[in-house]
Structure formats: C-alpha cells, structure tokens
Symmetry: D3
Subunit: 249 residues, 6 copies
C-alpha cells in the first residue's frame, strides 16, 4: 500500500469552494484529459432529498469486510477504538466520509446517530458503497449523502469495520485518503489532489461557458455554430462577461 | 404447509397502532434479538409519493405463479371465485395486501381499479413482490404501496393467481397470513404475531430515546458519551420525559 | 433491413394529440389485442422531474455501438456529418428522439447542449436506452426524457454513433423510424403506425370509462359489479357523459 | 389452487419411454404450437457429468420458502413428517423430483444422502431451482440432476420446506404435480399431461426426420431444398425408412 | 454507418493460418498497444466440447432485433431472401459467422440444421451473442462455437433477423464485416484487418517465447530474471531456437 | 486492521493433510456449529480440469483495487518490489494464493507465467475473486485454481495491486493471512486457524460415516433409519471399521 503514498495530499478549502461550482460532467472531462478513464462511481446515488447543494471534500475513508462472527469478539473488545469509531471521531471540517462496504446490500454501514455525529464534526458529505439505515432521517439531514441503497440492519450483522483512512474502492473507483470527492445530482467523481487545483481554477469558467452555449442553443443557434465552442463563441462569451460581470449558476 | 399453522395469529388494532410509531430499523433490531436474521424485504420499495405515513397491518396474502396458457381456461371458468378476486374481497380493515409474484418484472399484479377496491375495503397498505400498473394513480392513492417496479401489462399476460391466504415469500422473506407487515420509507419488515406485542410495547419509547440521543449528538456530545445509551443517558431521557411529557416524533 | 420497410409510416399530429390522453397501460392492452406481446420498454425510466405531461411522438432513431478506438478517426473526419449530429439536426416537431445505446451504463448518449438542441427543434421527448450527462439540467428541461441511468462521461468514451433513422431496439423493444413512442410516468410503449389510429380514436374514451369505474369502486361498489365493465356499466357511463359533458382527466 | 386441479394428470410409462427419444427443442416447438409460450426452465442446468441419458418423468414437487428461524421449531417437531421427508418417501418409479427453492443460491436443497434415497426409490431425475450440496457425488450419481448451482450449506440454513406435491415454479415455469419434466443436455421443459401423448406419438419420428435433414445438409444440399421439409423431403425420408428400418439416434 | 466503411477489409488465408497459432491473451496485448482497449467479448463462451482447435476467420455478420409480431408477416413473405438465410448462404470458406442477438437468453439464434449448413459452407466458427438450440449436436459439431447460453426456442419466438453483413456488437465489442474473430478456450477477441498482419507476423514467435519463459519458471528461475523478458532472455530463446528448430505449441 | 491480528495463526502441515480428506460440505457444517454463518465463497468456481484433488492450504493474500492511471507510475517505479511480485515471491509450500480483485470481470489477476511461479514455489492452490488469463494453460496446470471467470487482459489494464498479506475478501468471505482455504469441486470455504484442528481431527471420520450411510441408503434402508445417524448406526459403522480397517474415500 505504501507504494502509492506519495500520491496522497490535501487540497485547501479555497480549492474545495471553487470545485463546488464544477459539475461532475466537467470534472470527468478534466480527469479524462489527464489520463484517468474511470473516475465516476457506478451505482452510488444521491440519497438526500431537498436542496443539499454540491459536495466537494477531502476523503476520509473507512473500509468494511464481510462479517466473520469469530472476529466479532475482537471488535467488541476494541470498544470505542474500533476503526468505525476512530474514523468518525477523526472527521475534520471539509472531509467527505467515504465508506467501502463492497456494495453490500445486506446491512447498513451506519444509522442516524453516527451520521449525525459525522455531520456535527463538519463533514461535507457522506459516500457509502453500501447502505445506510434510518434513511428517512438521513436523507433529510441537510448534507449530501450518496449510497447504493438502504437497509435497516446494523452494520455488524453483515459487515466488520477493518481500517480507517487506508485506500478503498467506492463504486469501482479507488479512493485514497485526501482525494477530493466531488458530488452533484449526477453522482460522485474522485479527483486526485494533484489534479484538483487546475480544475478548481478552470472549471467554474467552463461551467459558465457551457451555460452561455446552452443559452445560444435555446435562442435557436445550431450546434455546429456554437459547440464545441469556436474561438468566436469564446470571444462572445468573454465579451458578455466583461460587460455583464460574472454569471452565477 | 400445515406444520407451521400454529405460528399464525392475529394481532389486535392497538398493537398495530403502536407499531405505526416504530421504525423498520427498530423492528429489525427487535427481531434479530429474537433470532430472526432476515426479516427485511429486499428490493421491495415504497412506490407512493406524498405523505402516506407508516404502515402496519395484518398480512392477507395472494400467491402468483408464472403463466401457463393451458391453465388460463380454468382461471376464466372460475370467474369471480378466482384466488385474486377472493383475496381482494376478503380484505378486512387493517390488513396489508401482500402479493408474491416472485419478483416478476414482466407484468403487473394489479391495476388502479383493484388497488382502489383494496383500499376501499380498509387495507392499511399493499406490498407486491412484483409490479403494479396504472402506477401514476396508485402512487398517489394515499395508502402505502410497496413494489419492485411498475409495468403496464395485465397480470395474466405473465402470471396466474394461485392461492389466497397461504404462506408466501416477498422480497426473500416468508410471510404467513396474519403476520404484521411494517413499512416506512426504508422498506418493509415482517413481524410474527408472537413477537409483535413486545415490540409494540417497547418500540415507541425506543424511538423517543433514539431521537433524544440524536439531539444530544446534534448538540455536540460525542458518541462515546451517549451511544449506545448508558444508564446515565437513559436516566436523563427519563427525567426529560417526566418533566416535558411524551415527545411526538 | 429493407424487408420491414413497408411497416414504416408516419402518423399525423391529431393522432399524437389524442394519444397523449391515453395511458401506457391502455396502449399495452390495445397492442396485445393486436398480437404484439412485448411493446413496453424494460428498464427505461422517466428521468424528468416536475410536470412534463405525457409524451407521444414519431420515433427518430440513433444507433450506437460500443467504442472501437480505431474507428474514432473516421468519426472525427466526418465532422458535423456524423450520425449523431445528422440525427439531431433532422429532428422535426413532434418527433421523439430514440437512442439505442444497448443499455450501456458506461457513458452518456448526450449532454445538456445536444438535448437542448433536440428540444429546440421541437422534439416531443427523448428516450435513451443508455444514459445522459448533465442530468441535473436535462431532468428539469421541461420535456419528457426517459433513460436507463445517468453518467457524466461523454459518449465517445464508450460509444460510437453508427446510424441515423435505422431500426433500433430500446429496452428490448424494436423501434422503426416513425413508430409512435408513447410515454407516461409508467414508462414507454412502442406503437406501430398501423395500430395508432384506432388507439387514438378509442383510447381517450377508454380512459374516461376507467376513471368512471374507479369512482364507482371508490363509492363502494364491488368489483364484480363494475369491472370488467358490463353493458349496464357502460350505459351508466354513457348516460353520465351525455348529461355532464366530457370529463377531464 | 384448487381451480387448476382438473389440469393435473398422470402419463403412463410408455409415454415417458417415447418422450425420452424427444429433444427439448422438439418438445418446445410442440408446446408452442399448443399455445404454451414459455415451457423452458431458465437458469436450471444439467449438473451431471458422464452419460446420464435423457430424462422424462412425472413431477413430484417440493416447495421451499425462505428460512424464518421462528418456524424452525415447528419443522423440528414434525420430525420425519416434514414436507421434505414426505416428498422423498413418496417418490415413485418414473417420478422426477422437482424442487422450488426460488432460485436460491444461499443453501442446498438436498445433499448426497437424500439424493441417493430419491434415486433408490426409482426417480428418473432431480430438478432443483436452487442448489445441491455434496455435488461431487451427486453429479456422478448416474441419474440426470438439474440445478442452478451448488452450495455446501444444509437446506435449513436458508430455506424451509413448506409443501409436498403442490404447484411450484422452477426456472420461471409453473409445474403441477404429474406434469412431465423432460430434460436433455439443453435443459428442462414442462409438458402438461394433456399434451404429452401427442408428443410421444409424433416426436420420435420428428427427431428422425431432423437427423435425415441434417444428413442431407451435411451431404451438401442447400437449406432451401430441405428445410423446412417439403413434401418431397418427407417422401424421401419415408422411403429411406421403409427400406432401411427405423434409424436410432 | 457509411462513415466507418473505410475501416473494413479482408485479410488473406495465410494471415488467418498464422493467427490460429496466437492466443487471445497475446492478441489482446497487441490490440491494447495499438489503442484498442476492449477487444474481448464479455460473456460469450466456448460451447464446443472435444478438440476444436483455435478459431480465426473473417466476420460475416447477422443482426437480430427483438421480435415484433406485426413484422413477422414481412419476414415470412421474404421467404428464403430474409437476412438470416442470406447470411448463411453467403458464408465463404474462412468466415466466422457472427450473430448479434443482443445477448438474448430468450430464444436461439439457430439450430442444428442451420449450423450444419454454415459449417458445410466452410465457416471457421460461429460466434453468437445469444443462444443456440439443438446444442447437444452443435457442441459436438467439430468447429468452434461460442455462445452466451442455450435455449430450445426457435429464433422467431423472440428475435427478428434484421440485416446481413452490417456492423454489429457481440459481447460488448463492435464487429465490422471482415474483422478477424480470433477464438481460443479463453474466448473471442475482435481484430481490425489493419492490425491483423502485424499480429500474424509476430504473434506466433511471441507465443513460443512465452512458452520458453514458462519453462524457465518451471525449471526454477525467479520471475525477476525472466519476465518481462530481458534482452538476455530473448537471446537465450533465440539461441535455443537456432539450435533446436521452431517449437510447436 | 490491527484489532483482528490476534485471530491470525498458522496451522501445521499435518492439519492440512487431514483437511484434504474433508469436504467443503462437512467443513461448512463444522463452521456453522461454531457460529460462522457464511464461510463459503460465492461465485468462485473451480477452473481446473482433470484430477487436481482437494485443496487445503494457508492463505497468502494479495489485494487489488480498481486501476487509477495516475497511480501507475508509482507501481512502475516500485519495480519488482510491488505488492503482486512481493506476494508471489513470498509463497511458501502449503500456501494458497488468495487474490481479492473485488470480483472484477474486466481483467486478469495473473497469467500463466506468474501462476507457474506460484506453483513452483509450492502453493497448494490459487483462489482469485476475479479472473486469470492464459487460462487454457492454467486450467491444466495440475494444482487447484478457483476463479470467477477468465479474461485475456493483463491486470494493470483494470486493476492495481495494493497490498500483500493484509485481510481481504474473496467471494463475500473475509480471509485473513494464514486462514485455511479448503477447496473441492463444490468450491472454497474459509477456516479460521482456531477451528481447523478440531475439523482435521473429526472431519475424515465424519466423511467415512457419511459414505457408510450413503451405502446403507443405496442398499435400500430408508432415511428415517440411518439419517441423521442414530447411536445404532454409529455403532454399526464403528463395528464395520473395526473389522475392515479404515475405508478410503
């Protein structure tokens, strides 16, 4: 595991703030241009209802393995020092709590109380390649929560917490601690810290350009004229921005 | 089938009323403590939109098998005496209409008219391990309806009604007639009558305690202090209840 | 492919307008009566949120095959003449844009800009046996859009556009250009032009009769009395219509 | 369930002997001609290795439902009178033991000892919509055994025997007790007794004709000349049989 | 479809003969080096039993779409001119008959008689993204046959032949007519004609080198010494070949 | 991960030798009696052909995560020190090489050369929750190899080796280094070292008893008389062993 350690890093809050203005579609395109082909989590969907906004945060990870009942006594003896509790109490503001439960549909990875604690500690969101319980509360909790599904069973009925802040997979994408997890209604993409800064710098402008192009389409211009954007369209866009100030989204 | 007959029973309306205040997560924990490991229906999701509230009712069952066209004439001859019509006209207030269609995605188990009749007869809800048709109406019908999916095809295009009020499976859980089907936004659990009374007695208090704990978490107390609840936390909760009267949920 | 050419046709706008008052459940029954057993697309679900109304339009088709990187240069050379762009720029008012991406969950078939252009050209809806990107926009676009799922990846990361307006499959149903694609909240059915006129003529009345029957059920009449509708019930319905004018839906 | 009772019957041994010379492909065609569209079990594959020959026998059925631990005591009290043991001890020569375990991959429906007893009692084969354990023995047992897969777990770890000789489904096909279960290397089809006699009478000849046609193809004649067989080809075939005696297969 | 026409071609028999000495693993590596990431058909497995050898041939394609009963009369009228019969009678020696049935498990794409004709016309193999019937014969037919599964149903019970020698997909890989379909026990890869020559020239030597390396491993040398092969190992291999003549495989 | 370290251990060769005489069905029953409910790997099947015998060995583990192209340079820099090579060169006689590739069907975890090296180092078998390439060789290699499927792609086209000899999952079962992996034709079960000794001591006798019971069944005794074995049957069995010496299996 150590051989990938140098790939880990921590992006700062300004980068996260900018990334919250970037869609997963734009992030995907950025990552592909940098050689990362499959940064999007498959099957991990937004559970939250109501307005939760976009999610961008530093991954704090928890890894589960399938329950083996002979290992439960060791978990119980570890008390509050077990990997799940360690992970939760280590959450820092701006973290996204990322859980690898191998896509398990057989039990929850957490319930309302643990999720509330994660939120209270300042998490920007929760991403679980598995389920949550007490989902009627969790989906109204006010931070973005992404899961495969819901299940009322407590975690240790089918899962064992194994490790805090090691590498995991979620939805078929490898996540290292500190990676940026970016989420919107379309799902979650994983951004290595080394590629986050450039996306934060360019992404929001790209989103504005896309909106401009879409408005031109809605105004009746054909695709061939505006998309992919020619230099002319980019100039129009720049001109409009200069005159009108930055558009919100 | 007869060997399990003694396990069947009918809970009374007061028990059902209390269970409506209990979440499936709490019910799951109760059942596991009593040795039932898999009481939650997999893949059977709430179809209803809008506020339908929780569901608790006595299972009235209908079993389908795959269509065999050579058997259709016998079904037609049986007219209004067929197992589907029998089941619907036998619905009593407080029943949940439980349908085993083996998870079929190839046809509906009922449409708006039959569903309306089931509601009119007083059903507390509908649970189908299969599909319904006329779902735009059914999902707004005002009672909780749980299904695997929707399909516009009439039942006998792929299914044959076989039996009314025999044992069935729904979502991988065995359901005997009279079992309590408890549903909330998280899904449905099956509660044997013998285990329903204790849950009805203790469950609502447990829900209130959980809410109290969650409030403490939201107020900033760490998990280790309040969850799982110590005697001290239970005493705090009891004291608050004594002073404030019973909390609603 | 030519052997089925004579089955193709184009229904007129009045037929489409009438069909918008017909549910997929009613259309399914009509098609089965005419010998078509599986007209309903499996797994292709309404993505749109908010009120988009029913969809009825003439299929304009686009077929994708899996990406083969050695073929990408030919696509790039074709520029704006590629099958995807051809299909989009050929959209006529009242068309439904039907995309066969073989159910692929690995990339989108289009994003917000192309979808906007399709809408701008007058499309009655979009049906993709695959994904879309920029789905937060597309699902609020105001026309019915049906997909398998969403994915932020651009189409050519996993798919190649192959052909405009040839026969395709969507959700396991064969679609010829010009077929009517009828959609409501329950999903999409495919109606051959030769069978559309009769359904347009009779379907809306059938829907009103169904509503009348449902009202009778809700008023307490048993199923055996009103469903399937006897001559008496049909007479009641006709009488009420005569006195009250046509019911809205 | 009673409404389909009149469809049940028992074919005699001579019919079974003739059917053993008929392929599932030929049987499928026969059943479709008589209106039965889906007589082939999906996902239930031949487990046996070595030469076991074709299978044709009268269905004796056993139905499982998912385990509910609260029902296990009733099963234990029933001792040797439980539905599984009843079914096994009721096997008659020429029966095929048909098990509905709902496709469960979580436990076996039987192991080597019960399978041996079923064989000893004269069963023509075993068909389980589920798994068997001790499969290294069972697959060499010398009678055709069809299953979904294998699993070393005993049945009551995930399944409860519910009923002997009621209607079941296997691989998506309804099986009534007494139905003919016909199996070859391609899988299993279900033949209602009312349709078995005609197939037994005509099927073996049809197989011989197919072989004759195939030989003509192998000799170089084009498909258009011999398939589907013209009157001329049928006459050639009849002539050759007259001169050469009945061909074996 | 026309935009990819220039990618089509026909490799000669000498190339095919050489490719028969190349494994799909080696071919995969070759194609990836040339930028083709996913040339391997998923889920399409060797059905044949006994020694059938490797398969290398030019793709002749047939495309099915899902059955629509209203189109069957047009198929019947077309008689022997339908796309399936056209495709079969057009088979040339060295072709591989490639069938796109969209992975359908609901019916066969062909039976023993059509398969025999395909073999008789000189086909090097059959690849069907779907099923075959009469599989007990077909799997012993003596040419490599790859399918998803088997099913006794005739093709038009669920499928309609649509087109002969157009582009298709098989197992998630696009196949153009004339592409080389290379198969061994591991499955099938698709090789564009433009990349076949180089592989034919270099692949057999590469296989021999791999065998030499494996022998060195079996003789006790560590991986680091021989794999990936150093210049030294390549020299050893060349020396041995020079002294011993070409090794067979 | 450290909290489960005390559960790890190493069984000696005599225990492994005895376990090779125990079926997975017997091992499953032993583990369930000791509270382990799901020790059987789902979906991981024997790939080997020919006589390979049973497998019992100490788990040596390798964990993969999904490929992230930005991490590949770190893997390349690590050269022969990467986790995969480390794991292979650390194999000891009597180890089973256990690979967690998360069930990936998109690439192989190893090919013939690495598998040969694993065998050469004395491995008792290979278990991969994923695929292998060069499977035509590997399945004839002479040691038991269990996989999900086969794929010609090299591992780093979809997977990254992450860790040697940490805890993994295979087929839904947690495997700690040193656990006994026991395999026969039915599949693989995971035995914690603490439970291996008792099974080694009692299992072979249990197998012999089962064979004795099966022989009694084959001789015509009913199940109720011999199974589950009464004291009388156990006495018969003991007597026969005393007179005849230990039976082989």
């Amino acid at each position: 595991m150590g051989i990938y350690d140098r790939a880990m890093g921590q992006v700062d809050d300004a980068v996260l703030a900018a990334l919250r203005r970037v869609s997963t579609a734009t992030a995907w395109a950025h990552l592909v241009r940098h050689g990362i082909k499959r940064p999007y989590m498959m099957g991990v969907k937004l559970l939250s209802i109501g307005e939760v906004g976009s999610m961008a945060g530093r991954a704090r990870t928890l890894r589960y393995v399938p329950l083996r009942e002979d290992l439960l006594p060791y978990l119980r003896e570890s008390g509050m020092e077990n990997p799940q509790r360690d992970a939760i109490e280590a959450v820092q503001p701006g973290d996204v709590f990322g859980v690898d439960a191998m896509g398990s549909l057989d039990a929850a990875t957490m319930g309302d109380i643990l999720a509330s604690r994660i939120k209270k500690r300042g998490a920007a969101g929760i991403v679980a390649d598995g389920c949550v319980r007490d989902s009627p509360f969790i989906k109204r909790m006010g931070i973005p929560v992404y899961t495969r599904s819901v299940h009322p069973a407590a975690n240790t009925s089918a899962l064992l917490p194994l490790e805090h802040n090691g590498p995991i997979q979620c939805g078929g994408v490898t996540v290292l601690p500190g990676d940026v997890l970016l989420g919107d209604e379309e799902g979650v993409v994983v951004i290595p810290p080394a590629l986050a800064g450039e996306l934060a710098a360019e992404g929001p402008d790209h989103e504005d350009l896309e909106i401009y192009i879409r408005e031109q389409i809605e105004a009746g211009r054909p695709i061939s004229e505006v998309y992919p954007p020619t230099e002319g369209v980019r100039a129009e866009f720049a001109a409009r921005r200069a005159s009108a100030g930055r558009q919100g989204r």
